[in-house]
């Protein structure tokens, strides 16, 4: 059950557009992935609304968790996505 922690690099946090980019990548993987932050329950990482309502800000750490075949590779891709500021 691979788990990875990453610091969000998006300067605006995971607000609407960065959240949508991320959840699209999750949905594309076809694997069940969760995303969580300290103090809150993890949520379905393929749900743009659930990710937005986490209110993740720039510099905050999030924990990703995936299951199934290729979970490690998927998490590597998702971590790389979150560790990049796409507006920079």
């Amino acid at each position: 059950m691979p788990t990875r922690t990453v610091t969000v690099a998006s300067k605006v946090g995971l607000h609407a557009r960065p959240a949508a980019t991320f959840t699209r990548a999750v949905a594309g993987s076809g694997l069940p992935v969760t995303i969580g932050v300290a103090g809150k329950d993890p949520v379905d990482a393929a749900s743009v609304l659930a990710v937005m309502t986490l209110g993740v800000q720039y510099g905050q750490e999030v924990t990703l968790h995936a299951e199934g075949d290729g979970a490690t590779a998927t998490l590597n891709e998702l971590v790389a996505l979150l560790a990049t500021d796409h507006d920079a």
Binding site: K11, V12, G13, H15, A16, R17, A19, A20, T23, R24, A38, G39, K40, V43, D44, A46, S47, V48, L49, A50, M52, T53, G55, Q57, Y58, G59, Q60
Partner: protein, 558 residues
Amino acid sequence: MPTVRTTVLRGRGVSPGVVHAPLARLAAPLVTSAADPVGAEPAAERVRLRQALEAVAADLTARADAAGGPCADILTTTAAMALDPTLRAAAEEHLERGCPTAHALTLAIEGFCARLDALGGYLAERVTDLRDVGHRAAAHLAGVAMPGIPAPGYPVVLVARDLAPADTATLEGGDVVAIVTEEGGPTSHTAILAGALGLPAVVGCPGIMAVPEGVTVRVDGTTGEVEPDPPAARRVGPTAAAPSDPPAVVGPGSTADGRPVALLSNIGTVTDAERAAATASEGVGLFRTEFLFLDRRTRPDVDEQARTYAAVLRAFGARRVVVRTLDAGSDKPLPFLPLGAEDNPALGVRGLRTATAHPAVLDDQLAALAAAAAGTARDVDVMAPMVATVEEAERFAVRARGHGLRRVGVMIEVPAAALRARELLEVVDFVSIGTNDLGQYTMAADRCSGALGHLLDPWQPAVLDLVAVVGEAGRAAGKPVGVCGEAAADPLLAAVLVGLGVSSLSTAPTARPAVHAALHGLSAPCCAVLADRARAARGANAARTTAARTRDELVGAG
């Protein structure tokens, strides 16, 4: 026929320019209800719901492809909301309980809207996008066309409660020459897209929905004034050069004769900071730190706070940054700051008053600010909200200085503080007037009360009198007096404030050019004349009119 001699309505100008045109309304969306006919078997309705949401997403994606630019990003994100698995699961739960199909989706959407609302700021403003998904899906389920932008064949001012991205994305090249919405904030789509399209726009304008269709309205996207049925003299052509479109003035803010007036920005997040730092803004006059604390079960620790503050300080390099400590109250509760219920939160334990029961929250914040200043090798100004007495100011100053913070100030929002500004300035280094709260407390009128809007007019001479007391105290002490309320963004009122002795004005960054140009055209003695005449007026409207006439005389003569 004497139509609607309504007084001037006031909202927040978010995209500059002045036009007048007949009012046209966006058709209201379908309203769903628990009393709607219940659909077929839940299994069949689940399929219909899924198809409706997929159709909405496909339509939004197609619009995104056609729109390009910032519109495309917004529409693509809205399409992702339509396909959200959590949203569909929540709607299906309501369906299973026998809820009519479209209403099941409405309930699921409202559940998320409540959570986004609670986050505040940018995310709260996304509820309009999400509700639009519901409206579109409801129209699809009912087999009716979506209401769209009016296109009568002549210029119109578009009025709506709020606009969804899919509405605004089709505005370009149409009949709409200005936009006024009852709701929405400075980062709503209306603001972003109207700015991108160069359409004058006013958001958050209470009362606009009561103005009938077809009435000519004058919209000033700089001041936020919306005037139904304006007199002929104020009906400038829809595409005529707008008087409040200022010629760009460069350099730091100052009056015509060179008295510096720092033109600063109000910010709430690191994103705001970076956006404002990219403009000519001379720094931050008000950093609202609440955003960092909202929607948190536990208090952000000193390290996390310090990182956020440091990011803001770095963004502004050597420019001044004034940070306001947490402004919470029982109407803005935080899970880790239990304040109990109060009958009258505006007069309750809020702002600095919360530090008595929860001193550690303030100490953490001061420690984090000191760490951020040390880490970025620069100074930071810190100020406390909701200060009423000199003792409170002194206690705050001692604590802040104890953490190594060198420049300490207080907000002037309470009339008592304004009246004792001279004594306050003996214990702090600067003050900043929050005109919205100062107006509320001076006029005994709830800021949230639409019916009392006329009392909350920042041109009320009583409020100007209090600003004058503070300005005079600042001059006597040789210490800065800022204004960080809405009043600072009104170019004419900004000149009056400078005339009253204010040395810095903090506004949304978009308001800066107009304020800059207004001050650049008036000398400090002229501002003082404007201020004297405004204070001599019998009421708010008279003060505004007198100041405008005086400015025109002085500029015309000058």
